[in-house]
């Protein structure tokens, strides 16, 4: 069983955390970073009492927990469809009992952040005699974990049928796809839930920061919200590079100039950011500022993409860099120097892209 658990952890659990490190960090920040440390315990005590005493609040929280599980299932089902994971067909040779427990354990590992917080809720509930709410939470998690395990096992046991199961239906594009849309197709087909989550977080961040009232027109609040949204996109930058090194390798052999390749990247990220830019536009950001913000946001993502042609393609290094760039950008936004950063990121991005594009070689 130990060997099976290790394989599942490597193929499914580790991959989930790798892909969602940015998002998890963001949630952690919202939960523990926005409140002063001396208020933290009271803040969470109030939050937990709210969950335990209000059925509506509890239902809302359960909805968020379900979305989290849905995100995991989406990733697992798309990973199981990948050719390099077809060896998991052999998992179906185990007995039902031998299949069940390692898979349940891997799902518990993924659910750890939710389960840990739930343990606190259950503890507080038991202490304050909110037994009905505690009972519902325990039943909810048990059913959820069992159902997730059953769904994944069903998928693994049907791998030999060569049928791709998806949690969300893929968006079919009836027209010709131009090159920059090759990337977007990957997201809408293989990571639709991750895309949806990222956009929701991005919208919440922008709207949240724009609630800060000032006595004059202030662009920086919107930009700070946008920065959080951009950070949540870091997983898509990494996924785009992974796509380039797996399914788009043929593009390297085509006669496309470096400037055109760079502009394609800009166009792809520009299209990806259309929802955020529309949200800013309808929130009365003046057109010139919107233009600068567009350039800033696009080259913020393009720069990180071009940087992934240096060294090995690992999520750890990418995440560290993403966080560092976020901090620097946050300061530059505070000092109203985002226009300078947009210029610097475009120039540096093109320079390192031109230098590293043909020299990059993925290592096993």
């Amino acid at each position: 069983m130990g060997a099976v658990v290790r394989v599942l952890n490597k193929v499914l659990v580790k991959k989930f955390y790798e892909r969602n490190v940015g998002l998890l960090f963001f949630v952690f920040f919202l939960m523990f970073g926005v409140v002063e440390s001396n208020q933290l315990i009271n803040y969470h005590r109030s939050l937990i009492y709210g969950i335990l005493t209000s059925p509506v609040f509890l239902a809302g929280v359960m909805g968020v927990w379900l979305l989290y599980s849905g995100k995991y299932l989406q990733l697992v089902l798309s990973e199981l469809a990948e050719p390099h994971n077809q060896f998991l067909k052999d998992y179906s040779r185990l007995t039902k009992r031998q299949q069940f427990w390692p898979m349940l354990l891997s799902i518990v590992m993924v659910d750890q952040p939710v389960l840990l917080y739930s343990i606190f809720i259950v503890g507080v509930g038991a202490f304050s005699q909110q037994y009905v709410a505690v009972f519902f939470i325990l039943v909810f998690h048990s059913v959820k974990l069992m159902t997730c395990t059953w769904i994944v096992l069903s998928r693994i046991n049907s791998l030999h049928e060569r049928r791709a199961t998806k949690l969300l239906p893929a968006i079919q594009w009836p027209w010709r796809r131009y090159f920059p849309f090759f990337y977007l197709g990957h997201f809408t087909n293989h990571l639709p839930l991750a895309l949806l989550f990222t956009k929701i977080f991005s919208f919440f961040a922008i709207i949240g920061f724009m609630q800060i009232t000032t006595d004059h027109y202030e662009i920086r609040t919107a930009l700070m919200g946008l920065l959080f949204g951009l950070m949540a996109h870091s997983v898509f930058i990494f996924e785009s590079r992974r796509l380039e090194e797996t399914y788009l390798t043929f593009v390297r052999g085509l006669p496309i100039s470096m400037i055109k390749r760079f502009l394609f990247l800009g166009l792809f990220y520009g299209v990806l950011l259309i929802p955020e830019l529309v949200l800013l536009a309808i929130n009365h950001i003046v057109w010139f500022d919107l233009l600068i913000i567009t350039l800033f946001a696009v080259f913020y993502l393009v720069y990180q993409h071009t940087r992934l042609f240096r060294g090995s393609l690992t999520i750890d290094a990418h995440t560290t860099f993403t966080f560092g760039l976020f901090l620097i950008s946050f300061m530059l936004v505070l000092f109203k120097l985002y226009w300078l950063e947009a210029i610097a990121l475009s120039a540096l991005g093109f320079y390192q892209y031109k230098r590293d594009y043909y020299n990059f070689e993925a290592t096993a």
Partner: protein, 207 residues
């Protein structure tokens, strides 16, 4: 003429190729060699798919100095090509045609020749490995290359498609296109001499 000078390729500490000087004149070249000898690596180097030490030129156009112009002169097909499953064959053909500035009639003739029209508008994820290979062969002939590099072109295609491939090779060869291919099976091309080379001991030997 394709010229390879002082080319060296290592994967980590493992030396794969160390070619001092090699020239491909006009013709058809069959690269032989044992598994892992470096045949595919050689094709990837010539096509500009992987970085390497040294220089490769075609008629004076350098792969490193003029990367875009050079890539116009070489088309390459992998032994087991991977394409995004959500794209259609048509998406790829149109993309290749636009980057290689191919004529529409020419591309349509290739589509008909390989008989891929019935499934060209379906997502690649629904294709069999043979259908993917046929699509990749169509892509190999798009444009106006001087050299077409085919890595194991006979693998996974059905026996009906083999003579079609031979006909196309002959047709394009008569138009002045040169071919370099690796294969574990012999190319049976009447009227055209196939020059044989072998990758062995990290270099290329003319047989």
């Amino acid at each position: 003429m394709l010229s390879i000078k002082n080319v060296r390729k290592e994967y980590g500490d493992h030396l794969i190729l160390d070619i001092h000087h090699l020239q491909f004149e006009n013709g058809l070249f069959w690269i032989k060699g044992a598994n892992g000898s470096g045949k595919s690596t050689l094709l990837k180097i010539i096509s500009g798919m992987i970085p390497f030490e040294g220089d490769v030129t075609i008629d004076g156009v350098g792969l490193k100095k003029q990367p875009t112009d050079y890539r116009r002169l070489v088309n390459y097909v992998e032994a087991e090509p991977l394409f995004p499953t959500y794209l259609t064959g048509n998406d790829l053909i149109l993309f290749f045609s636009s980057t290689r500035k191919a004529k529409k009639e020419e591309v349509e003739a290739l589509i008909q020749k390989f008989n891929i029209e019935p499934f060209i508008k379906n997502p690649i994820g629904t294709y069999s490995s043979g259908m993917v290979k046929k699509l990749s062969l169509v892509l190999a002939f798009i444009g106006k290359p001087k050299y077409i590099l085919l890595d194991e072109p006979l693998v996974t295609i059905d026996k009906e498609s083999v003579p079609i491939l031979y006909d196309l090779v002959k047709l394009y060869f008569n138009r002045g296109v040169n071919f370099i291919f690796t294969s574990h099976q012999a190319f049976e091309l009447a009227d055209i001499a196939v020059k044989e080379l072998e990758v062995k001991d990290h270099t290329v030997w003319v047989l």
